[in-house]
C-alpha cells in the first residue's frame, strides 16, 4: 500500500461482503416465497424479506463504494487520507444504522416501525428502496456528508487526477440525489416523478461515474497502460453516460402521469444508454490486451472484464429490450423488469465492487500484489459460478416475463388471465430461478472461501533425534 491510511477500506469491504451474503440468503427466501406463497408467513411476510433483500443490496454497494474511495483516492491524490479516525467512526455509525434498520424490518410489522420511528413527523417511508425510517435516512446523509468531507479534503490536498475528480463528482451526485428521498408529496404522480431522481439518476447516472472511475483505476494499476489513454476513455464513457442517462430518465415517465412527449424523449435517449456500457466493455478488453505488464492478480483482471460484459448485457441489452415505449407498454411492471434489474445490478455494481475488492484486498491484507495462485483459482470459480447463475436467473425470469405478457397483458380484458392465475402458470420458471439462486449462493461461498486459501503448505518432516 502506498499509504497507511488506505487500510481504512478494509472494514468497509469486509462488512460489504457480509451484507452481500445476507442479501443472498434473503434473496433465496423471497425466491422461495414466490413459489411457496406462505413460506415464513406471518413472521417474515414477503414485503419484509424483500425489503431486507433490496436494502441490503443498496447498503452493501454503498459500503463497497466508500471502501473503494478510501482505497483509491489517497493513491490517486498521492497524499494520506485526511482523517482515518473519521473514516472509522463513520463506518461504525453507518454499520449500526444499517443493522438497526434491518432489525426493524424483521422484528416488527412495518406500520409499527413507522409509528415507533415517528414517521408521521416527517413521512419518507413506504416507497420502494426507500423503506428506511426517516431517522435512518438522516443517519445516511450524515455519514455521506462526513465521508464526502473526508475524501474531498484529501483530493483538495493532493493531486487532482481525472479518476479522482470523476469519482468525486459521482459520489457528490450520489449524496445530492439521495436528498430527494426526503421529498414525499401527497401527490402520487409527483412522488413518483422525483422518486426516480433518486433511483434512475443513481443507477443510470452518477453511479456510472463511480463505476467508470473505479474500473479505470483498476485497469491502470493492473495493465500498466499509459494513464492518458485510459483517462481519455473515461471522459468519453462518463460523457455518454450522462448525455444519454439524464434525459433517459424519461423512460420511467411513460405511465405515471407526465405528458406523452416523454414517450418519445424517454425512448430515444434511453435506447442510447447501452452505449457507455458497451464502451466500458471495449475499453476493458482493449486495455487488457494492450497491457504492458503481467500483473499477478489475474482474478482482478477477470472481474474487470466480466464487469464490462455483464453490465453491458444486464443493463445495456436487457434494458434496451424493454425500454422502447411500445414494448414497455406491455412489459412494464412484469417479470421482465425483475430479470433486467437482477442482471443489471449484479453486472454493473456488484461486480465493480467485487473487482476493486479483488484488486485491493490482497494488498491491504499484506499478501502482496495478488492472493496466492490457489486462492485466485478458487476466486475465479466463484466468479464463474455466480456470473453464470445470474445469467440463468435472468433467463428464467425473462421466460417468465414473456409468458406473463402473453397471458396477462396481451389479451383484451376478459380474455386475459388474472395476475394470480398467471403466477400459477409461471411456477416452473420460478422454481428454476430458485435453483439458479442456490447455485449463485454456492458461487458466493466459493468466493468467500478464496479469502481463506493460503499458500501451498509444505509438510515438514519431523525427525526424531535421539
Amino acid at each position: 500500500m502506498k499509504f497507511q491510511s488506505q487500510a481504512v477500506a478494509k472494514p468497509y469491504f469486509v462488512f460489504a461482503l457480509l451484507l452481500f451474503a445476507l442479501q443472498i440468503v434473503f434473496g433465496l427466501i423471497v425466491g422461495l416465497q414466490y413459489v411457496i406463497g406462505d413460506f415464513l408467513f406471518p413472521y417474515i411476510p414477503f414485503n419484509a424479506a424483500r425489503m431486507v433483500h433490496t436494502n441490503l443490496l443498496i447498503v452493501w454497494l454503498l459500503f463497497g463504494f466508500m471502501g473503494a474511495a478510501y482505497y483509491l483516492i489517497p493513491e490517486e491524490s498521492d497524499v494520506e487520507l485526511y482523517s482515518t479516525k473519521l473514516a472509522n467512526i463513520l463506518f461504525w455509525v453507518f454499520a449500526a444504522a444499517g443493522v438497526l434498520t434491518v432489525a426493524g424490518y424483521l422484528l416488527v410489522p412495518y406500520a409499527k416501525l413507522a409509528a415507533f420511528t415517528k414517521n408521521e413527523w416527517f413521512p419518507t417511508m413506504g416507497r420502494e428502496f426507500l423503506e428506511q425510517p426517516t431517522i435512518a435516512k438522516v443517519g445516511i446523509v450524515v455519514v455521506c456528508l462526513g465521508f464526502l468531507f473526508n475524501v474531498g479534503m484529501t483530493v483538495l490536498k493532493g493531486r487532482k487526477t481525472v479518476i479522482n475528480m470523476i469519482l468525486m463528482t459521482g459520489l457528490i451526485g450520489l449524496a445530492v440525489m439521495f436528498l430527494f428521498s426526503f421529498y414525499n408529496p401527497s401527490n402520487l404522480a409527483l412522488d413518483k416523478y422525483f422518486w426516480w431522481w433518486v433511483v434512475h439518476l443513481w443507477v443510470e447516472g452518477v453511479w456510472e461515474l463511480i463505476m467508470g472511475s473505479i474500473l479505470a483505476f483498476v485497469l491502470i494499476k493492473t495493465t500498466g497502460v499509459d494513464r492518458e489513454v485510459i483517462e481519455k476513455w473515461l471522459y468519453v464513457i462518463v460523457a455518454m453516460a450522462l448525455i444519454t442517462g439524464i434525459i433517459g430518465t424519461g423512460h420511467h415517465y411513460f405511465w405515471i402521469g407526465p405528458k406523452p412527449y416523454w414517450l418519445w424523449l424517454g425512448s430515444f435517449f434511453s435506447a442510447l444508454e447501452p452505449i457507455p456500457f458497451f464502451m466500458m466493455t471495449v475499453f476493458a478488453f482493449n486495455m487488457v490486451f494492450k497491457r504492458r505488464r503481467e500483473h499477478p492478480n489475474k482474478a482482478a483482471l477477470l472481474w474487470a472484464m466480466g464487469t464490462g460484459v455483464m453490465a453491458f448485457l444486464g443493463a445495456g441489452v436487457w434494458g434496451f429490450l424493454h425500454t422502447l415505449a411500445p414494448v414497455n407498454y406491455l412489459t412494464h411492471g412484469s417479470q421482465i423488469t425483475a430479470a433486467h434489474g437482477h442482471m443489471a445490478f449484479y453486472g454493473a455494481y456488484a461486480m465493480i465492487n467485487l473487482t476493486i475488492i479483488s484488486y485491493a484486498m490482497p494488498i491491504i491484507r499484506g499478501q502482496g500484489e495478488a492472493a496466492p495462485a490457489r486462492a485466485q483459482v478458487v476466486e475465479m470459480w466463484g466468479f464463474w459460478l455466480m456470473t453464470v447463475s445470474m445469467v440463468f436467473i435472468t433467463l428464467f425470469l425473462t421466460g417468465a416475463g414473456i409468458l406473463q405478457v402473453w397471458l396477462q397483458r396481451l389479451p383484451d380484458s376478459g380474455d386475459a388471465l388474472s395476475f394470480m392465475e398467471t403466477m400459477d402458470q409461471l411456477v416452473i420458471f420460478f422454481w428454476l430461478r430458485e435453483l439458479a439462486g442456490v447455485a449463485f449462493l454456492l458461487g458466493l461461498i466459493c468466493y468467500f472461501a478464496s479469502f481463506f486459501v493460503g499458500e501451498k503448505t509444505q509438510t515438514i518432516a519431523t525427525v526424531d533425534v535421539r
Binding site: 408521521e120 468519453v236 448525455i243
Partner: protein, 148 residues
C-alpha cells in the same frame, strides 16, 4: 500527424454535454410539474386521498404490489383495482375493500399470503379513496387491460 480526438476534446464534451442535458432536464421538469395537476386531477386530491397514501406507505403495500407498474411483483397491480373490483363504482369498491382487508390472511395453503393490517374502517375508506384517485390519473392508457 492526424488530428485525432484529443483528451481536451473529450473533457469538453463531458462537461458541456452534461451541463446542457442537466439544464434541458430541469426545463422539462419545470414543464412537467406545471402540467401535471391537469393530468392527475389535482383538484380531487382530498385529505382522505392524502391520508390514504400515508396508509399505503406505512403498511408498505408497495412491498408486494405494484402501483402504476412500480413496486414488487408478488401481488397484483392496484392502480386499476378500482376498475377491476369496484367496476368504477366508488361505493361498491369501498365495500369490497372493507371486506377484503378484514379477511386477510386468506389462509389458503401455499398461496401467496397477505398480512392482516388491523386498519380501521376510516383508514380502509381513505385507502380506497387513494386508489380511486390513482386510477384516474391520466397515464397514457396504461395498463393494457383490466388485469393490470
Amino acid at each position: 500527424m492526424a488530428e485525432v480526438f484529443t483528451k481536451t476534446a473529450a473533457r469538453n464534451i463531458y462537461i458541456g454535454g452534461s451541463v446542457f442535458f442537466v439544464l434541458f432536464f430541469l426545463g422539462l421538469t419545470f414543464e412537467t410539474t406545471r402540467s401535471l395537476p391537469q393530468r392527475d386531477h389535482r383538484e380531487n386530491l382530498t385529505e382522505a386521498v392524502a391520508h390514504g397514501k400515508m396508509i399505503w406507505e406505512e403498511n408498505n403495500c408497495i412491498g408486494c404490489h405494484t402501483l402504476m407498474g412500480e413496486g414488487a411483483y408478488f401481488a397484483p397491480e392496484l392502480a386499476n383495482v378500482f376498475d377491476r373490483r369496484g367496476l368504477a363504482n366508488e361505493e361498491a369498491f369501498k365495500a369490497y375493500l372493507q371486506g377484503w382487508m378484514a379477511a386477510q390472511p386468506l389462509g389458503v395453503p401455499g398461496r401467496r399470503a397477505m398480512p392482516q393490517f388491523n386498519l380501521t374502517v376510516q383508514e380502509v375508506n381513505d385507502l380506497a379513496d387513494f386508489l380511486i384517485w390513482t386510477s384516474r390519473i391520466e397515464d397514457n392508457n396504461w395498463p393494457p387491460n383490466i388485469e393490470g
